[in-house]
Structures are given as C-alpha cells and as structure tokens.
C-alpha cells in the first residue's frame, strides 16, 4: 500500500519534470521524484542508499541543475515548441522500449510472486566493512574518478577569455 503511494508520487514527479515548460519547475518536480525514490529505498530496507539518495540527488544534483538552468537563460528567440524536431520518431522508440520492458516483466517468473520476508537491517558497520575490504578497489577508483571529473568540469566550464586578459 505504502509502496503504491510512493510509486505513484515518483512517477507523477518524473512525468511533471519532463512536461513543464519552465525548467526551474521541472527541477522542482524532479526533486520530488528523487525523494519518492528515496522513500521506496527506505521501504525496501536499504537505509544507507535511501539517505545517500536524498543527500546526493535531492541535495547536490538538483542544486547543480538549478545553477545550470540559471546560468543558461535563453536569449529572446525562444522556440515556439518545447518538443524537438524528431519527436514523433522518438515517441515511437520510447513506446517500443517500454513495451518490450513491460512484456518481459509480465512474462518472467517473478510476476505475481509475493514479497518475501524483510531481511534484518543492514548495519552501517557491515557496509563499512564491505567498502573497506571486499570493495576497497572500486571505492578507490570512484574516488579517483570523482577527482578527475571535478577537475575536468572546472577545466571545461572556466572562461578562457577572461583568464587571458
């Protein structure tokens, strides 16, 4: 029951984010969808991932997108339509993808299978142990990737003309 409510809220937020004309409203609806997903993670017993979702997506990514929206205000020649020129072909592709996904899920063995018992809570200590032992190498690589991405983003976005002046 709770799952259905959060699922409907999440889908409504996502659809609203994709259909608003004003991009700031879109980002607001997107935060709504991210928060709904975080609630679903909490319902599924993944506390750490749910809170990380709130911190990273609702906190950081949404603010980042709002900054980008405000930094790239379109000039006066705004387009009449919010749809791209190839929207008909795109809509067909989207419907095909969703049709294949839904058909596969409805044909698979998991359909109609009831929910299992909730596993015991995963403690922070277990997550820390896993990150420091079995997943230590991926953790280091993600750290390096984040550093490289940060340097790359600054290098791309910095205004070179003002630097040379």
């Amino acid at each position: 029951m709770l799952f259905s409510i959060f699922a409907i809220l999440t889908v409504a937020g996502a659809v609203a984010a994709m259909s608003f004309r004003n991009l700031v409203h879109s980002v607001l609806a997107l935060t709504f969808a991210f928060a709904g997903l975080a609630a679903i993670y909490l319902l599924l017993g993944a506390q750490f991932v749910g809170l990380a979702q709130i911190l990273v997506y609702v906190g950081a990514v949404a603010i980042l997108i709002v900054f980008a929206v405000l930094l790239t205000r379109d000039d006066g020649t705004a387009p009449r339509s919010i749809l791209s020129s190839s929207w008909k072909e795109s809509a067909v592709v989207v419907l095909l993808v969703f049709g294949v996904l839904a058909w596969t899920i409805s044909r698979s063995l998991v359909f109609g299978q009831g929910g299992g018992s909730l596993p015991r809570d995963v403690s922070m200590q277990e997550i820390g142990n896993a990150l420091m032992q079995r997943f230590a190498l991926p953790l280091e690589i993600v750290g390096a990737l984040l550093t490289v991405a940060m340097i790359g983003a600054v290098t791309i976005a910095v205004n070179e003309k003002e630097e040379r002046r």
């Binding site: 017993g45 990514v61 379109d74 991926p138 790359g152």
Partner: protein, 103 residues
C-alpha cells in the same frame, strides 16, 4: 504490492519517462535530467534484486548502487559543465540549433 514485479514495473515506467524526456524535449538540460532519471531506474532495479535475491547478506546490489550514485554525480557535473560551455559559445541550449557538425 511491495513485490519484485512492482519494483521492476516502476523502474520500467521511470526508464521510459526518462527516455522520453531525453529524446523528445529540445532543451539540453532536460536531456541531462532524463539521463539522471534512467540511471535512477537502473538503481531501483539493483536494490529490488538485492532485496528479493538469494544472497542479501553479500550486499552486492547495494554496493553497486552506492558506486553508481557516485558515478552519476560525476556525470552530472561534467554534463552541466559541457552545457554551460555550449551556451557560452552558441548562446543557446536548444539541441536543434546545435547542428554545426551535421553532415
């Protein structure tokens, strides 16, 4: 219906909505938002299979989602930097008007 099938269906719907946003809208920022939604749909699948799968104590699906969130944050930062660079050069974020490499 907190079952595996419900999670998978929700994830499929989210993926389709994100794909629609990325393909149908003409704003470059909306394309990036659509990609973020698709990544979130994949994360939901990982969590659902971790939760209902045979070995939840191995934490594999959860770890994958944690790393995926980190990589998605890096992707968002670089993507938005590219959009800001594009805007500085072309004064627009309309992807239909960025066609100078069109054959």
């Amino acid at each position: 219906m907190t079952s595996l099938a419900g999670c998978l269906l929700l994830s499929a719907i989210l993926f389709a909505v994100g794909l629609a946003g990325a393909l149908v809208r003409r704003s470059a920022i909306l394309v990036l938002i659509g990609i973020e939604l698709m990544l979130n749909a994949a994360n939901l699948n990982f969590i659902a299979f971790w939760r209902y799968g045979p070995n939840p104590e191995a934490l594999t699906g959860m770890m994958f989602v944690i790393f995926s969130i980190g990589v998605a944050a890096a992707e968002a930062a670089v993507g938005l930097a590219l959009i800001i660079f594009l805007y500085r050069n072309k004064r627009t974020t309309d992807i239909d008007r960025v066609n100078s490499m069109r054959g």
